[in-house]
Protein backbone atom coordinates (compact mmCIF):
# COMPACT_ATOMS: atom_id res chain seq x y z
CA UNK A 1 0.00 0.00 0.00
CA UNK A 2 1.40 3.33 -1.01
CA UNK A 3 0.87 6.67 0.61
CA UNK A 4 -2.41 8.24 -0.41
CA UNK A 5 -3.94 4.86 -1.10
CA UNK A 6 -5.86 4.89 2.16
CA UNK A 7 -7.51 8.10 1.08
CA UNK A 8 -8.42 6.54 -2.22
CA UNK A 9 -9.77 3.41 -0.58
CA UNK A 10 -12.16 5.60 1.39
CA UNK A 11 -13.15 7.68 -1.62
CA UNK A 12 -13.57 4.53 -3.69
CA UNK A 13 -15.58 2.42 -1.32
CA UNK A 14 -17.70 4.77 0.74
CA UNK A 15 -20.20 5.70 -1.99
CA UNK A 16 -21.00 2.11 -2.91
CA UNK A 17 -20.85 0.58 0.54
CA UNK A 18 -23.01 3.25 2.14
CA UNK A 19 -25.77 2.19 -0.24
CA UNK A 20 -25.17 -1.53 0.17
CA UNK A 21 -24.39 -2.13 3.84
CA UNK A 22 -27.50 -0.68 5.53
CA UNK A 23 -29.59 -2.86 3.25
CA UNK A 24 -27.51 -5.98 3.80
CA UNK A 25 -26.72 -6.78 7.40
CA UNK A 26 -29.76 -5.57 9.20
CA UNK A 27 -32.13 -7.38 6.82
CA UNK A 28 -30.14 -10.61 7.09
CA UNK A 29 -30.00 -10.41 10.87
CA UNK A 30 -33.69 -9.61 10.99
CA UNK A 31 -34.60 -12.53 8.76
CA UNK A 32 -32.45 -14.86 10.88
CA UNK A 33 -34.13 -13.56 14.02
CA UNK A 34 -37.65 -13.95 12.62
CA UNK A 35 -36.89 -17.48 11.43
CA UNK A 36 -36.38 -18.46 15.08
CA UNK A 37 -39.70 -16.97 16.20
CA UNK A 38 -43.16 -18.33 16.24
CA UNK A 39 -44.35 -15.30 14.28
CA UNK A 40 -47.80 -15.62 12.81
CA UNK A 41 -49.42 -12.28 12.03
CA UNK A 42 -52.84 -13.89 12.38
CA UNK A 43 -52.06 -14.34 16.09
CA UNK A 44 -49.90 -11.29 16.88
CA UNK A 45 -50.20 -11.78 20.64
CA UNK A 46 -48.51 -15.17 20.42
CA UNK A 47 -45.14 -14.15 19.02
CA UNK A 48 -42.49 -16.10 20.93
CA UNK A 49 -39.12 -17.79 20.57
CA UNK A 50 -39.43 -21.10 18.79
CA UNK A 51 -35.88 -22.29 18.19
CA UNK A 52 -35.69 -24.49 15.12
CA UNK A 53 -39.38 -25.27 15.14
CA UNK A 54 -40.01 -23.31 11.93
CA UNK A 55 -37.33 -25.25 10.10
CA UNK A 56 -38.76 -28.55 11.37
CA UNK A 57 -42.29 -27.53 10.40
CA UNK A 58 -41.14 -26.48 6.95
CA UNK A 59 -39.29 -29.76 6.46
CA UNK A 60 -42.34 -31.76 7.45
CA UNK A 61 -44.79 -29.65 5.51
CA UNK A 62 -47.06 -31.11 2.87
CA UNK A 63 -45.38 -29.07 0.15
CA UNK A 64 -41.68 -29.76 0.83
CA UNK A 65 -41.21 -32.77 -1.46
CA UNK A 66 -43.32 -31.48 -4.35
CA UNK A 67 -41.93 -27.96 -4.34
CA UNK A 68 -38.33 -29.19 -4.16
CA UNK A 69 -39.03 -31.40 -7.14
CA UNK A 70 -40.63 -28.53 -9.05
CA UNK A 71 -37.77 -26.15 -8.25
CA UNK A 72 -35.06 -28.65 -9.18
CA UNK A 73 -36.81 -29.45 -12.45
CA UNK A 74 -37.27 -25.82 -13.33
CA UNK A 75 -33.71 -24.80 -12.43
CA UNK A 76 -32.18 -27.81 -14.18
CA UNK A 77 -34.09 -26.99 -17.36
CA UNK A 78 -33.83 -23.21 -17.32
CA UNK A 79 -30.29 -22.43 -16.16
CA UNK A 80 -28.27 -24.47 -18.69
CA UNK A 81 -30.53 -23.23 -21.48
CA UNK A 82 -30.08 -19.59 -20.53
CA UNK A 83 -26.29 -19.92 -20.20
CA UNK A 84 -25.84 -21.76 -23.50
CA UNK A 85 -28.25 -19.67 -25.54
CA UNK A 86 -26.96 -16.36 -24.20
CA UNK A 87 -23.39 -17.43 -24.96
CA UNK A 88 -24.46 -18.30 -28.49
CA UNK A 89 -26.31 -15.02 -28.85
CA UNK A 90 -23.30 -13.06 -27.62
CA UNK A 91 -21.07 -14.83 -30.15
CA UNK A 92 -23.53 -13.94 -32.91
CA UNK A 93 -23.76 -10.33 -31.73
CA UNK A 94 -19.98 -9.95 -31.57
CA UNK A 95 -19.63 -10.76 -35.26
CA UNK A 96 -19.21 -7.98 -37.73
CA UNK A 97 -22.13 -7.86 -40.15
CA UNK A 98 -24.65 -5.35 -41.38
CA UNK A 99 -27.44 -4.82 -38.92
CA UNK A 100 -25.57 -6.26 -35.93
CA UNK A 101 -26.13 -3.03 -34.01
CA UNK A 102 -29.86 -3.35 -34.51
CA UNK A 103 -29.75 -6.99 -33.46
CA UNK A 104 -27.81 -6.10 -30.29
CA UNK A 105 -30.59 -3.70 -29.45
CA UNK A 106 -33.34 -6.12 -30.40
CA UNK A 107 -32.06 -8.86 -28.10
CA UNK A 108 -32.49 -6.56 -25.12
CA UNK A 109 -36.06 -5.58 -25.97
CA UNK A 110 -37.87 -8.22 -23.81
CA UNK A 111 -36.11 -6.75 -20.78
CA UNK A 112 -38.02 -3.50 -21.21
CA UNK A 113 -41.45 -5.04 -20.70
CA UNK A 114 -42.76 -5.33 -17.13
CA UNK A 115 -42.61 -8.95 -16.01
CA UNK A 116 -46.35 -9.05 -15.38
CA UNK A 117 -46.90 -8.27 -19.05
CA UNK A 118 -44.40 -10.74 -20.43
CA UNK A 119 -45.95 -13.39 -18.22
CA UNK A 120 -49.42 -12.40 -19.37
CA UNK A 121 -48.58 -12.53 -23.07
CA UNK A 122 -47.06 -16.02 -22.83
CA UNK A 123 -50.05 -17.21 -20.87
CA UNK A 124 -52.29 -15.69 -23.50
CA UNK A 125 -50.37 -17.29 -26.38
CA UNK A 126 -50.92 -20.71 -24.81
CA UNK A 127 -54.45 -20.01 -23.58
CA UNK A 128 -56.75 -22.98 -24.07
CA UNK A 129 -59.56 -21.10 -25.82
CA UNK A 130 -58.21 -17.85 -27.20
CA UNK A 131 -54.54 -18.70 -27.57
CA UNK A 132 -52.78 -18.33 -30.88
CA UNK A 133 -50.70 -21.46 -30.28
CA UNK A 134 -53.76 -23.69 -30.25
CA UNK A 135 -55.17 -21.96 -33.31
CA UNK A 136 -51.90 -22.37 -35.19
CA UNK A 137 -51.50 -26.03 -34.23
CA UNK A 138 -55.06 -26.77 -35.26
CA UNK A 139 -54.85 -25.04 -38.61
CA UNK A 140 -51.65 -26.96 -39.28
CA UNK A 141 -53.55 -30.14 -38.46
CA UNK A 142 -51.22 -31.14 -35.64
CA UNK A 143 -54.03 -31.31 -33.07
CA UNK A 144 -57.69 -32.15 -33.60
CA UNK A 145 -59.16 -29.96 -30.89
CA UNK A 146 -57.86 -27.24 -28.62
CA UNK A 147 -55.54 -28.50 -25.90
CA UNK A 148 -55.44 -26.82 -22.47
CA UNK A 149 -51.63 -26.73 -22.41
CA UNK A 150 -51.38 -25.01 -19.05
CA UNK A 151 -53.38 -27.79 -17.42
CA UNK A 152 -50.88 -30.44 -18.52
CA UNK A 153 -47.86 -31.04 -16.32
CA UNK A 154 -44.88 -31.00 -18.65
CA UNK A 155 -46.29 -28.52 -21.16
CA UNK A 156 -46.99 -26.12 -18.29
CA UNK A 157 -43.43 -26.52 -17.03
CA UNK A 158 -42.00 -26.01 -20.50
CA UNK A 159 -44.10 -22.90 -21.06
CA UNK A 160 -42.68 -21.50 -17.82
CA UNK A 161 -39.17 -22.27 -19.04
CA UNK A 162 -39.85 -20.59 -22.40
CA UNK A 163 -41.21 -17.48 -20.69
CA UNK A 164 -38.22 -17.47 -18.32
CA UNK A 165 -35.86 -17.67 -21.29
CA UNK A 166 -37.63 -14.85 -23.06
CA UNK A 167 -37.43 -12.64 -19.99
CA UNK A 168 -33.97 -13.56 -18.70
CA UNK A 169 -31.79 -13.81 -21.81
CA UNK A 170 -30.86 -10.11 -22.17
CA UNK A 171 -28.65 -9.70 -19.10
CA UNK A 172 -26.43 -12.77 -19.63
CA UNK A 173 -26.15 -11.98 -23.34
CA UNK A 174 -25.09 -8.43 -22.60
CA UNK A 175 -22.53 -9.65 -20.04
CA UNK A 176 -21.02 -12.21 -22.40
CA UNK A 177 -20.98 -9.63 -25.16
CA UNK A 178 -19.13 -7.12 -22.99
CA UNK A 179 -16.77 -9.95 -22.01
CA UNK A 180 -16.06 -10.87 -25.62
CA UNK A 181 -15.47 -7.21 -26.43
CA UNK A 182 -12.72 -7.11 -23.83
CA UNK A 183 -10.70 -9.99 -25.34
CA UNK A 184 -7.45 -8.53 -26.68
CA UNK A 185 -7.24 -9.10 -30.42
CA UNK A 186 -3.56 -10.03 -30.07
CA UNK A 187 -4.59 -13.34 -28.57
CA UNK A 188 -6.46 -14.26 -31.74
CA UNK A 189 -3.66 -12.96 -33.94
CA UNK A 190 -1.13 -15.02 -32.04
CA UNK A 191 -3.36 -18.08 -32.32
CA UNK A 192 -3.71 -17.46 -36.05
CA UNK A 193 0.07 -17.39 -36.43
CA UNK A 194 0.22 -20.66 -34.53
CA UNK A 195 -2.24 -22.02 -37.08
CA UNK A 196 -5.13 -22.67 -34.69
CA UNK A 197 -8.48 -23.75 -36.17
CA UNK A 198 -11.54 -21.67 -35.28
CA UNK A 199 -12.88 -24.25 -32.82
CA UNK A 200 -9.50 -24.38 -31.05
CA UNK A 201 -9.39 -20.59 -30.96
CA UNK A 202 -12.87 -20.48 -29.52
CA UNK A 203 -12.05 -22.99 -26.79
CA UNK A 204 -8.60 -21.78 -25.90
CA UNK A 205 -9.23 -18.05 -26.01
CA UNK A 206 -12.92 -17.11 -25.96
CA UNK A 207 -14.14 -19.69 -23.46
CA UNK A 208 -11.14 -19.31 -21.18
CA UNK A 209 -11.47 -15.57 -21.16
CA UNK A 210 -15.20 -15.75 -20.53
CA UNK A 211 -14.92 -18.17 -17.61
CA UNK A 212 -15.25 -15.53 -14.86
CA UNK A 213 -18.18 -14.04 -16.75
CA UNK A 214 -19.70 -17.48 -17.02
CA UNK A 215 -19.48 -17.70 -13.24
CA UNK A 216 -21.43 -14.47 -12.76
CA UNK A 217 -24.01 -15.55 -15.31
CA UNK A 218 -24.43 -18.99 -13.76
CA UNK A 219 -24.83 -17.57 -10.26
CA UNK A 220 -27.16 -14.78 -11.35
CA UNK A 221 -29.39 -16.92 -13.52
CA UNK A 222 -29.56 -19.67 -10.90
CA UNK A 223 -30.65 -17.21 -8.23
CA UNK A 224 -33.24 -15.78 -10.61
CA UNK A 225 -34.50 -19.27 -11.44
CA UNK A 226 -34.64 -20.35 -7.80
CA UNK A 227 -36.49 -17.17 -6.87
CA UNK A 228 -38.86 -17.20 -9.82
CA UNK A 229 -42.20 -16.28 -8.44
CA UNK A 230 -43.80 -13.70 -10.70
CA UNK A 231 -43.88 -15.88 -13.80
CA UNK A 232 -45.23 -18.87 -11.91
CA UNK A 233 -47.85 -16.71 -10.28
CA UNK A 234 -48.99 -15.11 -13.54
CA UNK A 235 -48.76 -18.09 -15.88
CA UNK A 236 -49.61 -21.29 -14.01
CA UNK A 237 -50.32 -20.23 -10.40
CA UNK A 238 -48.45 -23.39 -9.40
CA UNK A 239 -50.69 -25.76 -11.32
CA UNK A 240 -51.62 -28.20 -12.64
CA UNK A 241 -51.86 -29.80 -9.23
CA UNK A 242 -48.64 -28.66 -7.62
CA UNK A 243 -46.45 -29.55 -10.54
CA UNK A 244 -45.02 -26.06 -11.11
CA UNK A 245 -45.36 -24.79 -7.54
CA UNK A 246 -41.71 -23.95 -6.89
CA UNK A 247 -40.34 -23.28 -3.40
CA UNK A 248 -40.47 -19.51 -3.77
CA UNK A 249 -44.16 -19.85 -4.55
CA UNK A 250 -44.70 -21.38 -1.10
CA UNK A 251 -42.39 -18.83 0.53
CA UNK A 252 -44.73 -16.20 -0.81
CA UNK A 253 -47.85 -18.00 0.28
CA UNK A 254 -46.43 -18.54 3.77
CA UNK A 255 -45.59 -14.85 3.95
CA UNK A 256 -48.48 -13.12 2.26
CA UNK A 257 -51.32 -15.62 2.27
CA UNK A 258 -50.83 -17.33 5.63
CA UNK A 259 -48.92 -14.37 7.14
CA UNK A 260 -46.60 -16.80 8.88
CA UNK A 261 -43.39 -14.75 8.82
CA UNK A 262 -41.45 -17.27 10.91
CA UNK A 263 -42.00 -20.16 8.53
CA UNK A 264 -41.47 -17.94 5.47
CA UNK A 265 -38.07 -16.80 6.80
CA UNK A 266 -37.07 -20.36 7.66
CA UNK A 267 -37.98 -21.47 4.15
CA UNK A 268 -36.03 -18.56 2.70
CA UNK A 269 -32.97 -19.56 4.70
CA UNK A 270 -33.15 -23.10 3.40
CA UNK A 271 -33.17 -21.61 -0.09
CA UNK A 272 -30.10 -19.55 0.82
CA UNK A 273 -28.23 -22.67 2.00
CA UNK A 274 -28.98 -24.45 -1.26
CA UNK A 275 -27.94 -21.36 -3.25
CA UNK A 276 -24.63 -21.16 -1.40
CA UNK A 277 -23.94 -24.84 -2.06
CA UNK A 278 -24.72 -24.27 -5.72
CA UNK A 279 -22.46 -21.22 -5.93
CA UNK A 280 -19.56 -23.11 -4.34
CA UNK A 281 -20.10 -25.85 -6.88
CA UNK A 282 -19.92 -23.28 -9.69
CA UNK A 283 -16.70 -21.81 -8.30
CA UNK A 284 -15.21 -25.32 -8.21
CA UNK A 285 -16.45 -26.27 -11.66
CA UNK A 286 -15.21 -23.11 -13.31
CA UNK A 287 -12.05 -23.04 -11.18
CA UNK A 288 -12.09 -19.30 -10.82
CA UNK A 289 -11.29 -19.06 -7.14
CA UNK A 290 -9.19 -16.00 -6.46
CA UNK A 291 -7.27 -16.16 -9.69
CA UNK A 292 -6.66 -12.75 -11.09
CA UNK A 293 -6.37 -12.81 -14.81
CA UNK A 294 -3.45 -10.45 -14.92
CA UNK A 295 -1.53 -10.86 -18.12
Amino acid sequence: MRRGDLKFIIVGLVPALSFIFPFTFYPIAYAAYVSSLHYDLKYPEEIRFAGFNNFIEVFNSYYMADSTMATVTFVALAVPLVVLISLGLALLLSQNFRGVGFLQWLVMVPWAIPLVDSGAIWKWIFDANYGIFNAAMKSLGLIDSYVPWLNLRWPAMLILVVAFLWVQLPLPTLLFLAGIQSIPQELYEAAMIDGAKSWAKFRAITLTWLRPFMLIVAVYVSLMAIWTFDLVYVITAGGPGNFTAVISYYTWSEMFTFLNFGRASALAFLVVLVSIALIIAYFRALRVGRIRLRV
Binding site: L13, I28, A31, M108, P114, V116, D117, I183, V272, R292
Partner: protein
Protein backbone atom coordinates in the same frame (compact mmCIF):
# COMPACT_ATOMS: atom_id res chain seq x y z
CA UNK B 1 -16.74 -21.56 -46.10
CA UNK B 2 -17.46 -17.85 -46.30
CA UNK B 3 -20.93 -18.51 -47.69
CA UNK B 4 -21.65 -21.03 -44.96
CA UNK B 5 -20.65 -18.45 -42.35
CA UNK B 6 -22.94 -15.90 -43.94
CA UNK B 7 -25.85 -18.35 -44.06
CA UNK B 8 -25.43 -19.20 -40.38
CA UNK B 9 -25.45 -15.51 -39.48
CA UNK B 10 -28.53 -14.74 -41.56
CA UNK B 11 -30.51 -17.74 -40.36
CA UNK B 12 -29.71 -17.24 -36.69
CA UNK B 13 -30.48 -13.52 -36.95
CA UNK B 14 -33.89 -14.36 -38.38
CA UNK B 15 -34.59 -16.88 -35.62
CA UNK B 16 -33.57 -14.34 -32.96
CA UNK B 17 -35.77 -11.72 -34.59
CA UNK B 18 -38.83 -13.97 -34.62
CA UNK B 19 -38.19 -15.16 -31.06
CA UNK B 20 -38.08 -11.61 -29.73
CA UNK B 21 -40.64 -9.98 -31.96
CA UNK B 22 -43.41 -12.54 -32.17
CA UNK B 23 -44.77 -12.06 -28.62
CA UNK B 24 -44.41 -8.29 -28.97
CA UNK B 25 -46.22 -8.21 -32.29
CA UNK B 26 -48.96 -10.33 -30.78
CA UNK B 27 -49.18 -7.95 -27.83
CA UNK B 28 -49.50 -5.07 -30.25
CA UNK B 29 -52.28 -6.76 -32.18
CA UNK B 30 -54.17 -7.55 -28.96
CA UNK B 31 -53.74 -4.00 -27.68
CA UNK B 32 -55.60 -2.75 -30.77
CA UNK B 33 -58.53 -5.13 -30.28
CA UNK B 34 -61.67 -4.73 -28.22
CA UNK B 35 -62.23 -7.15 -25.35
CA UNK B 36 -64.87 -9.22 -27.26
CA UNK B 37 -62.42 -9.53 -30.15
CA UNK B 38 -59.66 -10.63 -27.79
CA UNK B 39 -61.94 -13.21 -26.21
CA UNK B 40 -62.90 -14.94 -29.41
CA UNK B 41 -61.85 -18.25 -30.88
CA UNK B 42 -60.07 -18.57 -33.21
CA UNK B 43 -58.06 -15.50 -32.17
CA UNK B 44 -58.18 -12.38 -34.35
CA UNK B 45 -54.78 -12.12 -35.98
CA UNK B 46 -55.17 -8.49 -36.87
CA UNK B 47 -58.26 -6.46 -35.89
CA UNK B 48 -60.49 -5.33 -38.77
CA UNK B 49 -60.95 -1.93 -37.14
CA UNK B 50 -57.84 -1.23 -35.07
CA UNK B 51 -59.05 0.50 -31.94
CA UNK B 52 -56.85 2.83 -29.93
CA UNK B 53 -59.17 2.91 -26.93
CA UNK B 54 -56.71 0.94 -24.78
CA UNK B 55 -53.93 3.46 -25.38
CA UNK B 56 -56.26 6.39 -24.94
CA UNK B 57 -57.41 4.90 -21.66
CA UNK B 58 -53.98 4.57 -20.08
CA UNK B 59 -53.00 8.09 -21.02
CA UNK B 60 -56.23 9.92 -20.26
CA UNK B 61 -58.64 7.61 -18.50
CA UNK B 62 -61.48 10.03 -17.83
CA UNK B 63 -61.84 11.43 -21.33
CA UNK B 64 -61.55 7.95 -22.82
CA UNK B 65 -64.33 6.70 -20.57
CA UNK B 66 -66.51 9.66 -21.45
CA UNK B 67 -66.03 9.12 -25.16
CA UNK B 68 -66.77 5.41 -24.81
CA UNK B 69 -69.97 6.15 -22.88
CA UNK B 70 -71.25 8.58 -25.48
CA UNK B 71 -70.41 6.17 -28.24
CA UNK B 72 -72.03 3.01 -26.93
CA UNK B 73 -73.51 3.79 -23.54
CA UNK B 74 -71.90 0.65 -22.19
CA UNK B 75 -68.72 0.30 -20.24
CA UNK B 76 -66.94 -2.83 -19.19
CA UNK B 77 -65.00 -3.02 -15.95
CA UNK B 78 -61.88 -0.84 -16.18
CA UNK B 79 -58.97 -0.53 -13.77
CA UNK B 80 -59.12 2.94 -12.20
CA UNK B 81 -55.47 2.68 -11.22
CA UNK B 82 -54.53 3.13 -14.89
CA UNK B 83 -55.11 6.85 -14.52
CA UNK B 84 -51.74 7.05 -12.74
CA UNK B 85 -49.94 5.47 -15.64
CA UNK B 86 -48.34 8.73 -16.90
CA UNK B 87 -47.10 9.57 -13.38
CA UNK B 88 -45.62 6.11 -13.06
CA UNK B 89 -43.91 6.46 -16.41
CA UNK B 90 -42.22 9.66 -15.25
CA UNK B 91 -41.29 8.16 -11.87
CA UNK B 92 -39.73 5.11 -13.50
CA UNK B 93 -37.67 7.18 -15.90
CA UNK B 94 -36.36 9.46 -13.14
CA UNK B 95 -35.53 6.57 -10.83
CA UNK B 96 -33.92 4.57 -13.62
CA UNK B 97 -31.65 7.43 -14.71
CA UNK B 98 -30.58 8.25 -11.14
CA UNK B 99 -29.86 4.56 -10.48
CA UNK B 100 -27.80 4.38 -13.65
CA UNK B 101 -25.77 7.41 -12.58
CA UNK B 102 -25.21 6.07 -9.07
CA UNK B 103 -24.12 2.69 -10.37
CA UNK B 104 -21.74 4.00 -13.01
CA UNK B 105 -20.04 6.25 -10.47
CA UNK B 106 -20.08 4.16 -7.30
CA UNK B 107 -19.55 0.74 -8.88
CA UNK B 108 -16.64 1.97 -10.99
CA UNK B 109 -14.94 3.57 -7.99
CA UNK B 110 -15.53 0.54 -5.79
CA UNK B 111 -14.38 -2.08 -8.26
CA UNK B 112 -11.31 -0.05 -9.18
CA UNK B 113 -10.43 0.06 -5.49
CA UNK B 114 -11.10 -3.65 -5.05
CA UNK B 115 -9.03 -4.76 -8.02
CA UNK B 116 -6.16 -2.28 -8.09
CA UNK B 117 -5.30 -1.52 -4.47
CA UNK B 118 -4.11 -4.33 -2.24
CA UNK B 119 -5.19 -3.80 1.31
CA UNK B 120 -6.16 -5.91 4.29
CA UNK B 121 -9.76 -7.00 4.25
CA UNK B 122 -10.30 -6.13 0.59
CA UNK B 123 -11.54 -9.63 -0.19
CA UNK B 124 -13.74 -9.72 2.88
CA UNK B 125 -15.30 -6.33 2.09
CA UNK B 126 -15.98 -7.49 -1.44
CA UNK B 127 -17.71 -10.67 -0.34
CA UNK B 128 -19.65 -8.74 2.28
CA UNK B 129 -20.95 -6.35 -0.33
CA UNK B 130 -22.05 -9.13 -2.66
CA UNK B 131 -23.45 -11.44 0.04
CA UNK B 132 -26.63 -9.46 0.57
CA UNK B 133 -27.87 -10.53 -2.83
CA UNK B 134 -27.98 -14.18 -1.80
CA UNK B 135 -31.06 -13.74 0.34
CA UNK B 136 -34.37 -14.18 -1.50
CA UNK B 137 -36.15 -10.82 -1.70
CA UNK B 138 -39.19 -12.19 0.06
CA UNK B 139 -37.18 -12.73 3.27
CA UNK B 140 -35.73 -9.23 3.47
CA UNK B 141 -38.58 -7.08 2.28
CA UNK B 142 -39.97 -6.51 5.76
CA UNK B 143 -36.67 -5.16 7.17
CA UNK B 144 -36.36 -3.01 4.03
CA UNK B 145 -39.74 -1.55 4.83
CA UNK B 146 -38.66 -0.87 8.43
CA UNK B 147 -35.46 0.83 7.31
CA UNK B 148 -37.24 3.04 4.81
CA UNK B 149 -39.92 3.93 7.35
CA UNK B 150 -37.24 5.25 9.68
CA UNK B 151 -34.20 6.17 7.64
CA UNK B 152 -31.97 8.07 10.07
CA UNK B 153 -35.07 9.61 11.55
CA UNK B 154 -36.87 10.30 8.26
CA UNK B 155 -39.93 8.49 7.03
CA UNK B 156 -39.12 7.96 3.38
CA UNK B 157 -42.11 5.78 2.56
CA UNK B 158 -43.80 6.83 -0.66
CA UNK B 159 -40.94 8.98 -1.93
CA UNK B 160 -38.84 8.57 -5.04
CA UNK B 161 -35.79 8.59 -2.77
CA UNK B 162 -36.98 5.42 -1.07
CA UNK B 163 -37.20 3.56 -4.36
CA UNK B 164 -33.82 4.93 -5.40
CA UNK B 165 -32.16 3.77 -2.16
CA UNK B 166 -33.66 0.33 -2.41
CA UNK B 167 -32.82 -0.10 -6.08
CA UNK B 168 -29.26 1.14 -5.56
CA UNK B 169 -28.73 -1.40 -2.80
CA UNK B 170 -30.23 -3.99 -5.13
CA UNK B 171 -28.16 -3.26 -8.24
CA UNK B 172 -24.75 -2.18 -6.90
CA UNK B 173 -23.50 -5.59 -5.68
CA UNK B 174 -23.91 -7.39 -9.00
CA UNK B 175 -22.50 -4.43 -10.91
CA UNK B 176 -19.43 -4.26 -8.68
CA UNK B 177 -18.91 -7.96 -9.24
CA UNK B 178 -19.24 -7.55 -13.00
CA UNK B 179 -16.82 -4.64 -13.16
CA UNK B 180 -14.40 -6.49 -10.86
CA UNK B 181 -14.34 -9.34 -13.33
CA UNK B 182 -13.89 -6.92 -16.13
CA UNK B 183 -11.08 -4.96 -14.50
CA UNK B 184 -9.27 -8.07 -13.29
CA UNK B 185 -9.03 -9.26 -16.85
CA UNK B 186 -7.28 -6.10 -17.97
CA UNK B 187 -3.54 -5.84 -17.35
CA UNK B 188 -2.54 -3.01 -15.07
CA UNK B 189 0.68 -2.25 -16.96
CA UNK B 190 -0.50 0.95 -18.59
CA UNK B 191 -1.90 2.18 -15.31
CA UNK B 192 1.43 1.48 -13.62
CA UNK B 193 3.11 3.41 -16.38
CA UNK B 194 0.70 6.28 -15.88
CA UNK B 195 1.37 6.26 -12.15
CA UNK B 196 5.11 6.39 -12.81
CA UNK B 197 4.43 9.41 -15.01
CA UNK B 198 3.00 11.07 -11.94
CA UNK B 199 -0.74 10.48 -12.35
CA UNK B 200 -2.71 10.18 -9.12
CA UNK B 201 -5.16 7.32 -8.55
CA UNK B 202 -8.21 9.32 -9.61
CA UNK B 203 -6.47 10.70 -12.66
CA UNK B 204 -5.36 7.20 -13.65
CA UNK B 205 -8.88 5.94 -13.22
CA UNK B 206 -10.50 8.65 -15.32
CA UNK B 207 -7.88 9.14 -18.01
CA UNK B 208 -6.42 5.67 -18.44
CA UNK B 209 -8.79 3.04 -17.08
CA UNK B 210 -12.18 4.42 -18.09
CA UNK B 211 -11.58 4.38 -21.85
CA UNK B 212 -10.39 0.77 -21.59
CA UNK B 213 -13.33 -0.57 -19.63
CA UNK B 214 -15.95 1.35 -21.58
CA UNK B 215 -17.88 -1.74 -22.74
CA UNK B 216 -18.05 -2.95 -19.15
CA UNK B 217 -19.35 0.38 -17.93
CA UNK B 218 -21.91 0.54 -20.71
CA UNK B 219 -23.02 -2.95 -19.77
CA UNK B 220 -23.53 -2.10 -16.10
CA UNK B 221 -25.24 1.15 -17.10
CA UNK B 222 -27.79 -0.78 -19.15
CA UNK B 223 -28.14 -3.43 -16.46
CA UNK B 224 -28.77 -0.83 -13.73
CA UNK B 225 -31.40 0.99 -15.70
CA UNK B 226 -33.18 -2.15 -16.81
CA UNK B 227 -33.16 -3.91 -13.45
CA UNK B 228 -34.58 -0.79 -11.82
CA UNK B 229 -37.07 -0.41 -14.67
CA UNK B 230 -38.48 -3.89 -14.22
CA UNK B 231 -38.24 -4.26 -10.45
CA UNK B 232 -41.68 -4.78 -8.97
CA UNK B 233 -41.53 -6.19 -5.49
CA UNK B 234 -39.41 -3.71 -3.51
CA UNK B 235 -40.93 -0.78 -5.36
CA UNK B 236 -44.35 -2.15 -4.48
CA UNK B 237 -43.49 -2.39 -0.78
CA UNK B 238 -42.04 1.11 -0.26
CA UNK B 239 -44.56 3.06 -2.35
CA UNK B 240 -48.11 3.91 -1.45
CA UNK B 241 -49.53 6.43 -3.91
CA UNK B 242 -49.01 7.75 -7.41
CA UNK B 243 -46.34 10.09 -5.99
CA UNK B 244 -43.77 7.34 -6.09
CA UNK B 245 -45.31 4.26 -7.70
CA UNK B 246 -43.31 2.95 -10.63
CA UNK B 247 -44.51 1.38 -13.86
CA UNK B 248 -44.26 -2.28 -12.84
CA UNK B 249 -46.30 -1.46 -9.73
CA UNK B 250 -49.08 0.24 -11.69
CA UNK B 251 -49.07 -2.48 -14.33
CA UNK B 252 -49.15 -5.06 -11.55
CA UNK B 253 -52.21 -3.38 -10.09
CA UNK B 254 -53.85 -3.35 -13.51
CA UNK B 255 -53.22 -7.08 -13.81
CA UNK B 256 -54.52 -7.78 -10.31
CA UNK B 257 -58.09 -6.68 -11.16
CA UNK B 258 -60.77 -9.30 -10.66
CA UNK B 259 -61.74 -8.91 -14.29
CA UNK B 260 -58.48 -8.67 -16.20
CA UNK B 261 -58.66 -6.19 -19.10
CA UNK B 262 -56.17 -7.97 -21.36
CA UNK B 263 -56.13 -5.24 -24.01
CA UNK B 264 -55.32 -2.45 -21.56
CA UNK B 265 -52.69 -4.62 -19.91
CA UNK B 266 -50.96 -5.22 -23.24
CA UNK B 267 -51.18 -1.56 -24.25
CA UNK B 268 -49.64 -0.66 -20.90
CA UNK B 269 -46.84 -3.16 -21.39
CA UNK B 270 -46.00 -1.85 -24.84
CA UNK B 271 -45.99 1.79 -23.78
CA UNK B 272 -43.86 1.04 -20.72
CA UNK B 273 -41.37 -0.58 -23.03
CA UNK B 274 -40.68 2.53 -25.11
CA UNK B 275 -38.59 4.78 -22.80
CA UNK B 276 -36.39 1.84 -21.84
CA UNK B 277 -35.84 1.02 -25.50
CA UNK B 278 -34.62 4.55 -26.14
CA UNK B 279 -32.20 4.26 -23.22
CA UNK B 280 -30.86 0.93 -24.49
CA UNK B 281 -30.43 2.39 -27.98
CA UNK B 282 -28.48 5.37 -26.64
CA UNK B 283 -26.21 3.23 -24.49
CA UNK B 284 -25.71 0.49 -27.03
CA UNK B 285 -23.83 2.82 -29.38
CA UNK B 286 -20.97 2.76 -26.91
CA UNK B 287 -20.96 -1.00 -26.60
CA UNK B 288 -18.51 -1.19 -29.47
CA UNK B 289 -15.10 -2.65 -28.87
CA UNK B 290 -13.31 -0.36 -26.45
CA UNK B 291 -9.73 0.63 -26.74
CA UNK B 292 -8.51 -2.59 -25.14
CA UNK B 293 -6.66 -3.81 -28.19
CA UNK B 294 -4.98 -0.51 -28.93
CA UNK B 295 -4.20 0.40 -25.37
CA UNK B 296 -2.43 -2.81 -24.45
CA UNK B 297 -0.04 -2.60 -27.34
Amino acid sequence: MVNGYKAVIVISSIIVGIWVLFPIAWMFSISLQTEPEIHSAPPTLWPKNPNIFNYWFIFDASSAIEARLQESGRLSFLPAVARWFPNALANSVIIGLVITGINILAATLASYTFTRIRFRGSGLLFYMSVAGRLIPPVAIVVPYYIIIQNFFGFNLLDTLLAVILVHAAFTLPINIWILNTYLSAIPSDIEDAARVDGYGRLETLFKVVLPVIKPGIVAIGIISFMVSWGEFFFAFMVTQTQLSRTLPVIVGFMAAQPYKPVGILMAGGLVSMLPALVVIAVFRRYLLRGLVAGAVR
